[in-house]
Subunit: 333 residues, 2 copies
């Protein structure tokens, strides 16, 4: 059994915002699986902010691209993978993949848990939020929390998770009035603001007049400065990403002018990479699945339909067009 | 018993580097102590970097100034303080003070521990180093450590303490060739450099080609940038002070252009204020006194003789003229 596949390759390195011209759709043919491998038809693909960083020097040009994916096994020569299994693997940006039993993880099926959740609230995005709040911030019940880029994949996961962990006042920033409404009306944030409406520091001070115990910072630059300003003495700032800087890696972001307050306010500013925490995946699933099944936790997803839209979905995500996790759906599970 | 005293007042707020003209020597007369107070003759005064920050808005003009001091009780109406007791209190910048039993702490006398040590290695300076390494960095045996401003009060205390805690490679930066020699030849640093000799990042990379586990950062600006560059993944930067910025509080320091590496390298950058750790004073003394008595820990002090030199000592300390802790000696204990 051979299968014709479509894939996307990166064909040029972008300066600044990437565009469609930096990618090309290619096709090819995958052979039948040999011993220890299985053929997977991809169903859901993840596009993520970190991929923008990969475009400058990490991803090889004209080659297969890495990306978190969920697929269905359609042929298998590996006893660990059975035809029909839903699997998670990292060969994204293509319709089909040959995977080994080591690199593919068979996903459990839970009533009420959509498979796409393994790319959003139960995937790397959810794990980022989980690590940030439980391991880095070590959020305590009652702690107030500010999340920047709160309407994105990590932000919507973190906001909902914070509620489950017993957070106190929950504040978010986002890039549009619609997203602000989504945070307050759908996700239970106590306050939210559109960061285009003025200096972030002032908007945050208005939304959190007493400051906050914890900041989850996803943007960098002026947003980090606002976080340093808002956090109380002995507060924690978890630095998860800096999407404001990804398009211009050669030019450092505007640095927080108040950085020295890290000393005066005894702040702990700590960064982390979710790839160092795969051992928490199982713990996270055990804790979160019951809340997803009860409806307390809702995978917040923007879905683009069709493999042909993967580049468009990626670029839209970089422009902030998604609410929650951006996912490309090739077919239903 | 009344006593004639001399004191120093701040008489003007400096912009930039302070000068003698911002201070005035005044004299007055202290009455005999009344119930619950004692009259103290100051023997040693501390001048510290944090006082530069106090000069802009914290200290009232033409008023008594705060400062760590050691004195001898010469008259007492407080049963907790006996004539002849050596006491630690915070009424510095003067020759005599009226103190209460609450605010003065009677110092223990240990053979081989000079009283001035309670302003240096056993004082706020030593406590800063102790908190930084044991509580914030949580230094483990074998950890490599870089200390900026290593020849100063906190730096020389931290370097020696690190050795006792079992640190691995120990690297320091300082402001002159003589200080660099002092670090390596007298204090057991493995490597040291004069930060005037080139970009700090390059000098540090040469001194610590494999990076370091922990940085104790006392300078700020370009030095913090170098620390971020040198620290390994999952390393810790303890931010203790930013002496490079104290003279220009209105203008933020050059920010680290590599700040986002806090995420990429999973760095913990944490500031603290020693004034939040008075409860560790006793623990520190219990741990350090035996090492002082054995000679493993040497109070590293630059002593200015005579109350008339207190302003000069303070300004000299700000210019980095001291090695180790700058102390003003009024009389011997």
């Amino acid at each position: 059994m051979t299968v014709r596949f479509s894939a996307v390759h990166q064909v040029a390195e972008p300066e600044g915002m990437p565009a469609a011209e930096h990618f090309a759709f290619v096709t090819g043919e995958l052979p039948a699986p040999t011993a220890g491998t299985a053929l997977v038809e991809n169903l859901y693909l993840s596009v993520d902010p970190y991929m923008r960083e990969c475009m400058n020097g990490v991803w090889a040009l004209d080659s297969p691209l890495e990306g978190r994916s969920i697929g269905r096994v359609i042929a298998s020569e590996d006893p660990r993978l059975a035809v029909g299994d839903l699997v998670f693997h990292r060969q994204g940006w293509r319709t089909h993949a040959l995977v080994t039993g080591e690199e593919a993880r068979v996903l459990p099926r839970h009533d009420g848990v959509p498979p796409s959740a393994y790319l959003s609230i139960l995937g790397g995005t959810g794990l980022s939020a989980y690590v940030a709040l439980t391991r880095i911030a070590r959020l305590e019940p009652g702690d107030s929390l500010y999340i920047s880029a709160a309407a994105g994949g990590v932000g919507t996961a973190a906001g909902q998770l914070a509620r489950i962990l017993g957070a106190g006042r929950l504040i978010g920033s986002a890039g549009s009035a619609a997203k602000v409404r989504h945070l307050v009306e759908d996700l239970g944030f106590d306050a939210a603001f559109d960061y285009h409406d003025g200096p972030v520091t002032e908007l945050l001070a208005k939304a959190a007049p007493d400051g906050v115990d914890v900041c989850l910072e996803n943007v960098g630059g002026e947003h980090l400065e606002a976080a340093i300003d808002a956090v109380r003495s002995h507060g924690r700032i978890v630095w998860c990403g800096a999407v404001s800087t990804y398009n211009d890696p050669g030019r450092p972001p505007a640095a927080p002018r108040n950085l020295y307050d890290v000393v005066g306010k005894s702040i702990r500013l700590e960064g982390f990479l979710v790839r160092n925490y795969p051992h928490l995946q199982e713990e996270m699933e055990e804790r979160l699945v019951p809340h997803i099944r009860s409806g307390a936790l809702v995978p917040d997803e923007t879905v683009a339909d069709g493999f042909g839209r993967v580049v468009e979905a990626f670029l839209g995500m970089l422009r902030g067009e998604n609410t929650g996790k951006m996912i490309v759906r090739l077919a239903d599970a």
